[in-house]
Symmetry: C2
Subunit: 189 residues, 2 copies
């Protein structure tokens, strides 16, 4: 580790003193930790442990994106999102998970995959890490949704999606990041 990083950790780092399990759910694992601050004081951190997730920008040969309309219960509305999903287990290969989610939710498989980097949705209180992908060379197959999974699929030109992000019409975080990055990689603005 470089000296600069060591100094920064000394100035800013927090270390665990104690960890209390609050809730061990199916999706959310909530903990209340006591930590030591850089000034020696103790403080509390309420945090979520999450298995991790992937999301995909699937782009057709004529620059349309396979998008989803999905009801999100916490915000009580249907929103426009890219295909995404949780890992099946902590050690699942992330690219494999992205291929699985794309196929299950939309029916598509892709010849080319590009890693668009990592997205931490809420690093102040959650360790969830989402890996973003761009998928090209799409082939349509069969969707494979769970009986209790509901979403509509639609194709939207990436140029319109960029406009809708810039004007504030698309509100999902991962969707905004991944589409803007995909558009930059495809030289579409």
């Amino acid at each position: 580790m470089s000296d600069i990083k060591e100094k920064e950790l000394e100035q800013l780092g927090e270390t665990q003193v104690d960890s209390q399990d609050i809730f061990d759910g199916f999706v959310l694992h909530v903990k209340k930790d006591t930590i030591k601050l850089p000034n020696g004081n103790e403080a509390t951190r309420e945090i979520i442990r999450h298995i991790g997730a992937v999301c995909v920008v699937p782009v057709t040969d004529d620059n349309k994106v396979i998008m989803e309309r999905q009801f999100r219960y916490p915000i009580d509305r249907v929103i426009t999102e890219i295909p995404a999903g949780k890992l099946d287990d902590k050690n699942e290969n992330r690219l494999m998970a992205a291929k699985r989610e794309l196929r299950e939710e939309t029916g598509y498989e892709a010849d080319e995959w590009l890693d668009l980097g990592i997205y931490y949705p809420a690093p102040a209180y959650s360790d969830e890490k989402i890996t973003m992908y761009l998928a090209k060379g799409l082939h349509k197959g069969e969707r494979d949704l769970d009986e209790d999974e509901f979403l509509n699929v639609e194709e939207i030109p990436i140029k319109s999606l960029v406009d809708d992000i810039l004007s504030g019409k698309i509100t999902d975080g991962k969707t905004q990041v991944a589409i803007l990055k995909a558009a930059a990689h495809l030289n579409i603005s």
Copy 2:
């Protein structure tokens, strides 16, 4: 409501059957709700209720952004972020909150504020809504950090930040979205 929206809600909507309080913390309010799916089946939703937050891209006259280095305990590392913070209360005016957070964390005040839209970090399990702002016409004053708040402030050209986002070096979600949107509004790419 339009017919299309009504049809979509019928196809995709979920309604609350029951709600159980799991944890009522300082930051996180965790609930386990039973819901009814569009097919009539019941399912469980583990969700976070969050007070809401704001974030700001403060840009100097020579297109540098006032950025922060901050330790994020859930992911155990120091990351680069834009200034941001929770609302003081649910009904706090969001622009006022953004002005407060910018001044407290960096010492800066700004003459011009532009609303960059909404960002839902994790709508599958959290109702947290972050409003993003671009702030220009900066004047330097005094920071006003809590005794137990630690962060380093640095100025970085927005062009470098865009490059670091596209190459995957900046991982915080709201920072990626807000910087890319701010750069588009400033015609910097």
